[in-house]
């Protein structure tokens, strides 16, 4: 591709700023590919990061499942009880978000050399931001999906133990699915928002960080 370019290097024009161009912004696909690779290679660590979202969303999902259950069996949900549960859910989601932020900050600090190197090779700040947001979003998606399934499953099994298998036939699955769908969206959104401060920190990392010799 560019081999000829280098051999004709001495004929290259060298006047003015005209020859310098703006770096292109990469398609999201490339950022996705690299992010997925980053997750796969550090699977253990990724699992720990995702487990925060998993627990938060599992809790949310179990609450939502029980609300649908109560609505199906008894008609209306007691509003004061629902409000109390809402508080618990919000607190657990905040804890999950703080956990993701912390985990991603650690990841940024660990990868300072990698980030610096990418910048030396021509990565734009926006690309570095994308990498971290996508990585966190994907972890959030995995954690949320698992959380939704486990939260729903545990709630169903508990009620089955008390009241028998009839509950499976009585559930309003359309309502439940839409609620659990929201839970997944919330988990992903939460993960991405929580990764914004670490991603900005990563993007602001100087390219010269790649040269630092200390480990």
């Amino acid at each position: 591709m560019a081999a000829q370019q280098s051999s004709s290097g001495n004929q290259r024009q060298a006047t003015g700023k005209g020859q310098i161009q703006h770096q292109i912004s990469l398609p999201l696909r490339e950022a996705f590919r690299i992010s997925i690779r980053n997750i796969v290679i550090r699977l253990g660590r990724a699992a720990i990061t995702a487990s925060g979202v998993f627990l938060g969303i599992a809790f949310l999902s179990s609450i939502l499942t029980s609300q649908v259950m109560v609505r199906v069996l008894h008609g209306e949900v007691d509003p004061s009880f629902a409000a109390r549960q809402g508080w618990l859910v919000k607190m657990s989601l905040v804890v999950a978000a703080v956990g993701i932020s912390n985990s991603m900050f650690m990841s940024v600090t660990e990868r300072f050399r990698e980030i610096g190197t990418m910048k030396c090779l021509g990565a734009l700040d926006s690309f570095v931001v994308k990498l971290f947001l996508i990585e966190s979003g994907l972890l959030g998606l995995a954690g949320s999906l698992a959380g939704v399934i486990v939260g729903f499953g545990v709630m169903m099994l508990l009620s089955m133990a008390k009241q028998g298998t009839a509950i499976w036939g009585q559930m309003d699955y359309t309502l439940l699915l839409s609620k659990l769908g929201y839970a997944v969206v919330a988990g992903v959104a939460l993960s991405i928002v929580a990764a914004v401060p670490p991603a900005i920190k990563a993007a602001k990392m100087p390219a010269a960080a790649a040269l630092r010799t200390e480990v």
Partner: protein, 252 residues
């Protein structure tokens, strides 16, 4: 030939009165104190000096990794201070190849993927990337290690991959920061020979910050830095001449 009479376009890097000050606590430290340096296209330059001499600071300035407090750095007659972030990224991607003491390969990628990463940033198609990636790996003698991860390669092999990566977008300049610093004597010599070969075959300008004396043999010029100033610049021709004179005296 005196450098002052040479045509301007001959130089790929020029620094003019570059000063860099750091604030250490409340004390101002001058890491660079008025550095003027002209580097010709296709030259092999070694920047030598003890640690803390300002060697790395100068290196960072030339590589566009840091900005001078005053003075200017020109790459192909473009003042780096005039460039915005995206133009700097373009410059780093296309014009400059970096080689690091710690290799800095991306651990999650294979040798081939590491080499093609700068091409991705340059917007190359995957066919072009594959072809050039293979070509470069063969050139550095690792044609059979395309799909090895950095952790599966020795230090010398990793540095070869890094050298191939630095050539990915056919840059005008290769900046090497202590390229042999983490390598044993023998491997270090191989890496230096490889750099010299690329310098001659690809006509790429090589600027190496180093305190490896093995570099002296292959460098066209050696820039000695001390206390933020250029102490002296030696030409290899001069070094050879002196050796020749001594031998001549002995023969006579």
């Amino acid at each position: 030939m005196a450098t002052s009479t040479a045509p301007v376009a001959e130089f790929t890097v020029r620094t003019r009165d570059v000063v860099k000050e750091y604030l250490m606590g409340s004390v101002k430290v001058k890491a660079l104190d008025g550095v003027d340096l002209d580097i010709r296209r296709g030259e092999y330059i070694s920047i030598m000096g003890p640690s803390g001499s300002g060697k790395s600071t100068l290196f960072n300035m030339v590589g566009g990794l840091d900005k001078p407090t005053s003075g200017s750095v020109f790459i192909d007659e473009t003042d780096m201070a005039q460039l915005d972030a995206s133009e700097l990224a373009w410059l780093r991607c296309r014009k400059i190849g970096y080689i690091f003491q710690t290799y800095n390969l991306i651990p999650v990628m294979t040798a081939l993927e590491n080499i093609t990463l700068p091409m991705i940033f340059a917007g190359a198609t995957s066919d072009e990337m594959l072809e050039r990636g293979r070509y470069l790996l063969e050139m550095v003698g690792l044609g059979d290690r395309l799909h090895h991860k950095p952790s599966e390669l020795s230090g010398g092999q990793q540095q070869r991959v890094a050298i191939a990566r630095s050539l990915a977008n056919a840059p005008a300049i290769i900046l090497a920061d202590e390229p042999t610093g983490n390598l044993d004597l023998h491997t270090g010599r191989e890496i230096i020979e490889l750099l010299k070969r690329l310098n001659q075959e690809q006509q790429v300008t090589i600027i190496a910050a180093t305190h490896d004396l093995k570099m002296l043999d292959v460098s066209d010029r050696i820039v000695w830095i001390r206390d933020g100033k250029i102490e002296r610049i030696e030409h290899r021709k001069d070094l050879e001449l002196r050796v020749g004179e001594v031998e001549g005296e002995q023969a006579g």
